[in-house]
């Protein structure tokens, strides 16, 4: 019998051919609303893919349901638009069955943190090799304007006409709570930052989680404007850089310091640069990263972006297939005739 874990497609096809954005663009008409933040994310990724040195046929985009989930249709790769919330589950099966593939999961805040929250946290917990991009616009767009699990408390929406009662999820906190090995945030107004972050996610061995702050200009327009607009970014976005003090502001006059109660924003001139926290993505204990994720209480206060955490830990799918190969190395390929005779038998 054949080695079932070695699909015929898993062969060396020689060097990866040079590609351009056009090669990664499908023939489908993009159907997001004009002005939607999803366009800039799509552009960023289509421009990035040729630089990653990967094959289109080995790349798969899996999505659930929602505006963001239409993403796979627009990529000239393999892709499946599945059902609401289940993209991480479908992608998990694919990544386990086919470790040779580069699997991306695309979804929105409702898709991945509400109906599919369970699948997301378990995919992150297992550390399976997926690149998970969560487009967070803090609203349900495709069903036309209900609050989402990331909408701010008090938010007035069609399903919360006098204000939302519940507190929101913080996607970065959720991912860190699940002890994801790669956790990052970027936003739809900065192509280069998105590309740098997506590249890091792609290079990460294991589950990589990226929250993309994304504007829904129809149902939640400007929700991140007070931190992502070009003229406010320097003061409102805290760009995390591994090994560097966490500083922000036009003159780098503000910093982040560790206090017993968590991280806080400080005036560097007041406390001195030596008190400013030096960012370290590689700390295995997620506490500091979690504290950083809690720094901004609303999308109107200084908000960290970049890579919160990037650690090495055994990847799930390769560990599962390693167990199989180990057993096969010990006892050889299974023989069906032997299996049928593995319990006591008798002859008639």
């Amino acid at each position: 019998m054949t080695d079932l874990l070695n699909p015929a497609t898993d062969v060396d096809d020689g060097p990866v051919p040079e590609t351009s954005r056009a090669d990664w663009t499908s023939d489908q008409e993009v159907r997001w609303c004009p002005g939607c933040g999803d366009y800039s994310i799509l552009t960023a990724l289509q421009l990035l893919m040729p630089e990653l040195g990967v094959r289109r046929e080995k790349t798969v985009f899996i999505s659930g349901i929602g505006c963001a989930a239409r993403f796979p249709y627009y990529m000239n790769t393999y892709g499946v638009h599945t059902i609401h919330g289940r993209a991480p589950a479908v992608a998990t099966g694919l990544a386990m069955a086919r470790p040779d593939l580069d699997v991306w999961v695309i979804g929105g805040d409702g898709d991945m943190l509400s109906i599919g929250g369970n699948h997301l946290i378990h995919a992150l917990r297992r550390n399976i090799n997926l690149n998970v991009l969560l487009f967070n616009n803090q609203i349900y767009g495709l069903t036309k304007g209900q609050f989402s699990p990331t909408s701010q408390k008090g938010k007035v929406t069609k399903s919360s006409p006098v204000g939302l009662v519940a507190r929101p999820f913080n996607p970065i906190s959720v991912a860190l709570g699940a002890e994801a090995t790669f956790v990052a945030r970027t936003h739809d107004m900065d192509r280069h930052h998105m590309q740098d972050t997506f590249r890091r996610a792609h290079e990460h061995e294991g589950a990589a989680f990226v929250e993309v702050l994304q504007n829904c200009n129809v149902f939640n327009d400007g929700v991140f404007a007070s931190i992502t607009k070009k003229d406010v970014r320097e003061d409102m976005l805290i760009d995390l850089q591994h090994g560097k003090p966490i500083l922000f502001g036009s003159e780098k006059q503000y910093g982040v310091a560790r206090r017993p109660e968590g991280v806080v924003i400080v005036d560097v001139a007041e406390v001195g640069i030596e008190y400013v926290l030096v960012h370290d993505e590689t700390i295995r204990n997620p506490s500091t990263a979690f504290s950083l994720s809690r720094l901004a209480k609303t999308p109107a206060t200084p908000t960290p972006i970049g890579v919160f955490r990037a650690i090495d830990r055994g990847e799930f799918a390769s560990s599962v297939s390693a167990q199989i190969r180990e057993v096969q190395a010990q006892v050889g390929q299974g023989d069906l005739g032997d299996l049928l005779r593995s319990q006591p038998t008798w002859e008639v």
Binding site: R56, E57, R86, V90, D100, W346, E347
Partner: protein, 632 residues
């Protein structure tokens, strides 16, 4: 076959039904299982019915904690675990109280006398000791102080009395093994290997078994000793198999026959979990098992693996099938192969998790959103689960569709001797994937249309990794051919019909009358799933008594056999026994406009042959349906 040299003079019985009943902690399932295996090795035909509570350890000594194992052994071909027990072994008062009704009048009742003391009697709700009065006069009562004799026997090995108490089930097994002239070696060998490295436990269990065996010899039970000779089974190599093991092996076989790696996505649920356990052991066959975070993730991952070129399977019971419904719709829309295994149990909701029922047929048939037909196959016996798993895989892979496999708790846990098939004789399953363009675009360049069907009606499946054939699939309605998203009304109607017609056109074997049927009897009994054994047994009894009854069994529930309508219409009376309120009968009446009548049982237990025999006799004696006078 193992010879019994020691009991040449024991009188022979053609069959016997033995029921072991005790507390959940008494090891009755193990005792029954060992007795069954010794009987299988001896060459009897047999059928078993394990019955245990949903609680792992209900309060000791209570009615709720009673666990029982019924085994029917014979010197001829049998199809059920028996209507009523000839012998009941009751390890405590609660077991006596809960299971006495299963014993035939005049049957042999063996009790562990030591447990019939105040505390245990009270827990069972007795206000007196039933062993002391006339209550049990109608039975052949054998009182054995099993606990104290076991402790005595174990004492010389230095086993503490409390530990020795755990071996009393082996005393019962030893006694019953003596009474029915069972071979000793299989049990001794099993004790040695099962408890390897735990010498004290081996010693205790062996001592208890030997003490029970010796008790039969020395306690003047000689008149009780009988032998049930080997059954004339067809030549071959046999093993004793339960349904879930057979199903697991069938899936492994299907993987080998198709050349696709087996991927199981599953979430623990009784009574399906043993399939996850079994397949987790078979990594040597390249089997990947994934215990998912929930039922939906389990099927989602199986769909993902199937999309990647594996044989994707998800296993569950009714509540899990309900949760997987939306994902099944996705697999239908994507036209991807998938096997969904439903080991049915009593419902609705948590229902009777450890008891059998077959009330998921209409859910399998219609329990999804939209028009979403799925082929359905059902196993008839424990060993048949092997063949039907291969059949489910064949339909799924050849016709590129999710397939529902229906089994139930009775088949899953029940066992029977199985003549092993010749591995080389199993038919291969041919799977084809697309590797080339199948269309030319407006610019004259080659392109790939994922829904441009071939002559067989199948869409081409291009696995991810196949150069140049990149394409997108989705649950949104797609244009037939290009596969592009389409909201066009005519296209949707076309696709709904297409998905329906392609499943309806799957070839399935013709319905054939079972052995013993004449073709023109007064009544046709139609069965599906695990009712086969009880119906076959009932039909035999009716024929012996001079009644004329035919029997047909449906292995494929969707699509139904092409000849079924004509077959049904050729009978004046049609009876459909089911472990539900009449689900197949509803389908048959709707599909074929025949006056088929239901026979329903929903007690969490399989039909006995006697119950169906009674219903057949009633139907034969009663007036025919409104098609009186219609003849074949």
């Amino acid at each position: 076959m193992t010879d019994i040299a020691e009991a040449p003079s024991a009188p022979a019985l053609d069959e016997v039904i033995i029921r072991f009943a005790g507390d959940s902690g008494d090891g009755m399932q193990l005792t029954g299982d060992r007795f069954t295996n010794a009987s299988a090795m001896f060459g009897n035909d047999l059928a078993t019915l394990p019955e245990y509570p949903a609680e792992i350890r209900a309060p000791a000594g209570t009615m709720a904690g009673v666990s029982a194992f019924q085994v029917h052994i014979s010197d001829h071909d049998i199809t059920t675990p028996g209507d009523a027990a000839d012998v009941l072994v009751a390890m405590n008062p609660a077991a006596l109280k809960s299971d006495l009704h299963t014993l035939v009048p005049g049957g042999t009742l063996i009790v562990n006398r030591d447990t019939f003391e105040e505390r245990n009697l009270a827990k069972a709700g007795y206000d007196h000791n039933p062993l002391d009065d006339e209550d049990l006069a109608g039975y052949s009562l054998i009182q054995v102080p099993m606990t104290s004799l076991t402790k005595e026997a174990c004492a010389e090995f230095g086993v503490k009395p409390r530990d020795a108490d755990r071996s009393k089930n082996f005393f019962a097994l030893g006694l019953l093994s003596w009474m029915y002239s069972r071979p000793i070696e299989p049990t001794m060998d099993w004790i040695e290997s099962k408890f390897a490295g735990k010498d004290l436990i081996i010693a205790a269990n062996r001592a208890a078994f030997n003490a029970g065996h010796a008790y039969g010899e020395t306690a003047e039970l000689g008149s009780q000793r009988v032998i049930v000779k080997a059954a004339p089974l067809a030549p071959g190599t046999y093993t004793n198999i339960n349904g879930n093991t057979a199903l697991s092996w069938g899936l492994v076989a299907a993987s080998q026959l198709s050349g696709l790696p087996l991927y199981l996505g599953s979430y623990p649920i009784t009574p399906a979990t043993d399939i996850l356990h079994e397949l987790s052991k078979h990594k040597a066959f390249g089997v990947t098992t994934f215990q998912a975070e929930d039922e939906i993730a389990a099927i989602g991952a199986a769909i993902g693996a199937s999309y990647g070129g594996s044989l994707g399977v998800t296993t569950t019971s009714g509540p899990g099938v309900a949760l997987k419904g939306e994902a099944m719709g996705l697999a239908i829309s994507l036209e991807l192969p998938l096997i969904v295994v439903d080991i049915q149990r009593g419902g609705p909701s948590t229902g009777l998790p450890t008891k059998t029922e077959a009330a998921d047929l209409l859910m399998a048939m219609y329990g999804r959103h939209g028009e979403s037909p799925m082929p359905i196959v059902a196993a008839r016996t424990p060993s048949d689960c092997f063949d039907m798993a291969i059949e489910a895989a064949r339909i799924a892979l050849v016709h590129q569709t999710p397939v529902m496999f229906l089994s139930d708790g009775y088949l899953a846990n029940g066992s029977e001797p199985w003549r092993l098939p010749e591995v080389d004789g199993l038919p291969t399953i041919e799977v084809r994937y697309a590797t080339e363009f199948n269309m030319v675009d407006e610019d004259g360049n080659g392109t790939f249309w994922p829904f441009l069907r071939g002559e067989d009606g199948n869409r081409p499946i291009a696995l991810p990794g196949t150069p140049e054939l990149m394409h997108r699939l989705g649950g949104i309605e797609k244009e037939d051919g290009s596969g592009n998203v389409s909201y066009d009304p005519d296209n949707h109607e076309h696709m709904v019909h297409l998905r329906n017609d392609r499943i309806a056109a799957i070839p399935v074997p013709e319905a054939e009358l079972e052995e013993g049927s004449e073709g023109d009897a007064d009544l046709l009994v139609v069965g599906w799933g695990s009712t086969w054994g009880a119906i076959a047994g009932a039909a035999r009894r009716v024929r012996v008594a001079g009644g004329r009854v035919d029997h047909v069994h449906l292995t494929h529930l969707n699509p139904l056999p092409a000849n079924l309508g004509d077959l049904l219409r050729s009978y004046q009376r049609v009876l459909v026994p089911e472990l539900n309120l009449g689900q197949l009968v509803r389908i048959l009446r709707a599909e074929y406009l025949v006056d088929a009548q239901p026979l329903s049982k929903v007690k969490g237990q399989p039909f006995t042959a006697g119950e169906i025999q009674f219903a057949i006799t009633e139907a034969l004696d009663g007036p025919a349906g409104h098609k009186e006078g219609v003849t074949a």
